[in-house]
């Protein structure tokens, strides 16, 4: 392999757009995913993440603009692209008429892997997913976490260069999530490029090297997790539970440049600063009475909420 191939983007989107009927799902976005990293798409429901993923893995046609996956044109070379990527969908669409092992064998057949190779490949993946002992059971006998691990194993039958995961841990208990994260971390160490969407900031912070936040079909910001926190929130956060007579606007005004920014929600005020302790000391407590105050590190959650708003979204 030459040097240029090693660094050429695995996914390259230029002015990529998609509308369903009159509704714009993805509004002409640009991004690229470097090889070997874990790239995360964050955003509230309806932000356009799933549609973007579907255009990449071939379950939605490219609406506008250009999309190249592994150097190939997603409009034309769909079959070739699909043969080299793995997909973990949001919905569990395992084949309930087949056993656990048969699901993997059959998936290998879809990829043109012959029956003599499909069997050993399936056994290898059952070990990877830690469900070797459940091989001959039907799908409905598996727990949610096992189904999810089987979905990930299924996405590996063709030894993909890129794996697209749409909300890989939604609905899982903490132990099951941890098992999925470990599986993904093992894959990343092998050099597989991971592209995932998630609602969970802890997941994004733990797994992703680079993040892209989407809202209403557009990209709000992009960067590595540490930089995003630093730029959009600062180092620390001060959470104030305001007394009823306290005017939040006046409080924020009184701090001037000392606060990096703020978020107000139902009488709870979050202020961002390099040193939140210092900020708390400098506050005029007689003028602005508070019920409680807490200093903590700024997180990705703060970035997300600041950039996409706190209000609940319609839809799901």
């Amino acid at each position: 392999m030459t040097g240029t191939e090693d660094t050429a983007p695995v996914v390259l989107a230029r002015s990529l757009g998609k509308s369903y009927g009159g509704r714009v799902a993805v509004a002409r976005i640009d991004f690229q995913v470097a090889p070997g990293i874990c790239f995360g798409f964050l955003g509230p429901n309806g932000a356009g993440k799933t549609t973007t993923m579907k255009m990449i893995y071939g379950l939605a046609t490219v609406g506008e603009g250009e999309l190249r996956v592994l150097g190939m044109d997603a409009r034309i070379e769909r079959r070739q692209i699909k043969s080299r990527i793995g997909v973990v969908p949001q919905e569990t669409n395992l084949d309930g008429d087949l056993t656990v092992r048969e699901n993997l064998v059959q998936q290998a057949r879809y990829f043109g892997i012959g029956p003599d190779q499909a069997g050993p490949r399936a056994d290898e993946l059952l070990e990877f997913a830690l469900i070797g002992d459940r091989a001959d059971e039907r799908i409905h006998a598996l727990s949610g976490g096992m189904k999810r691990r089987l979905l990930i194993a299924r996405a590996l039958v063709n030894d993909p260069e890129l794996i697209v995961l749409d909300e890989p841990t939604t609905g899982l208990d903490p132990q099951a999530r941890l098992a999925v994260w470990r599986a993904l971390e093992r894959l990343r160490r092998r050099g597989v490029t991971l592209l995932l969407t998630t609602h969970y900031m802890d997941e994004a912070a733990r797994l992703c090297d680079r993040l892209l936040i989407m809202d209403e079909g557009s990209i709000v910001t992009e960067g590595d997790p540490g930089t995003l926190i630093h730029v959009h929130a600062g180092r620390e956060a001060l959470e104030l539970d305001l007394a009823e007579e306290c005017d939040p606007e006046a409080l924020v005004d009184s701090l001037g440049e000392r606060a990096n920014g703020h978020e107000l929600h139902d009488g709870a005020l979050t202020l961002f600063a390099e040193d939140a302790e210092e900020l708390l000391r400098s506050l005029d407590h007689d003028r602005f009475p508070t019920e409680s105050a807490m200093v903590r590190r700024a997180t990705l959650e703060d970035v997300f909420l600041r950039l996409t708003g706190r209000s609940l979204r319609e839809g799901d």
């Binding site: 939605a60 699909k82 669409n93 084949d95 998936q107 990829f111 043109g112 299924r154």
Partner: protein
Amino acid sequence: MSYEPGYAGLGGRLAVRELIPSPRHAVAIWTRNARVFSKLWKGALLPTFLDPFFYLLALGFGLGTYIAHGINGIPYKEFVAPGLIASAAMWSSAFETTYNVYFRMNELRLYDNVLSTPIEPADLVAGDLLWSASRATVYGIVVLIVVSAVGLVSSPWAILIPPFVFIGALCISVIGYSFTSLIPKIDLYSYFFTLGITPMFLFSGIFFPFNQLPGWVEVVAWFTPLYHLVEITRGMATGPDGVQILIHTAWLAAVTAILFPIPVRAIRARLVP
């Protein structure tokens, strides 16, 4: 739980290359369906054995007793028997490409997974149709064995019936598949069966010939696939006329080829919008 996939229509025109299935990928789909059937076949085939028995008892041996001279010189039960081979294939194809495909596509969401592998809509539809026709042929063979065992087949040519059943079943399957790929909700199958399959079963020449009926009845029947398949199976079972068999076979093959793009386009519009 009733999931409604909604109406997606036929979508835009597709390039010719997107309408041509890749045999290798179609076989992968066929393999999946065959694998599932191989687990269920014992339970699934028993009714197929019993079904023609009941029809033969009620119509061949019951009603047939009152038809003293037979039909066109053939005893009535021998007249009915080959048609039951064709009808078994029709019922099998109709159920496979309606409820079974609907369930795989909309409830199990299997096709979302399949279409994110190298398999494309044309491969998926072709694989499912080949499977449906294979299953129907198995059912047809079962009935052929039953009616031969009770001595209702007089021509040795009957041994060649299965491949024709396959072609006929393919044609009925593509019609069922087109319906499934277009309907917005499952309730519409009652129209498909009540207005399509049942009348076809009754009026395709299985139970009575057309020569005593007004001419338009046969003209209408000519436009249904089952009519042609019944003509073939009866011809083979009683002594075939080569040219007629060829014409009926050509009709079935041509209609299959003409209709094939409908489900391919509809599946593409629905699952790869």
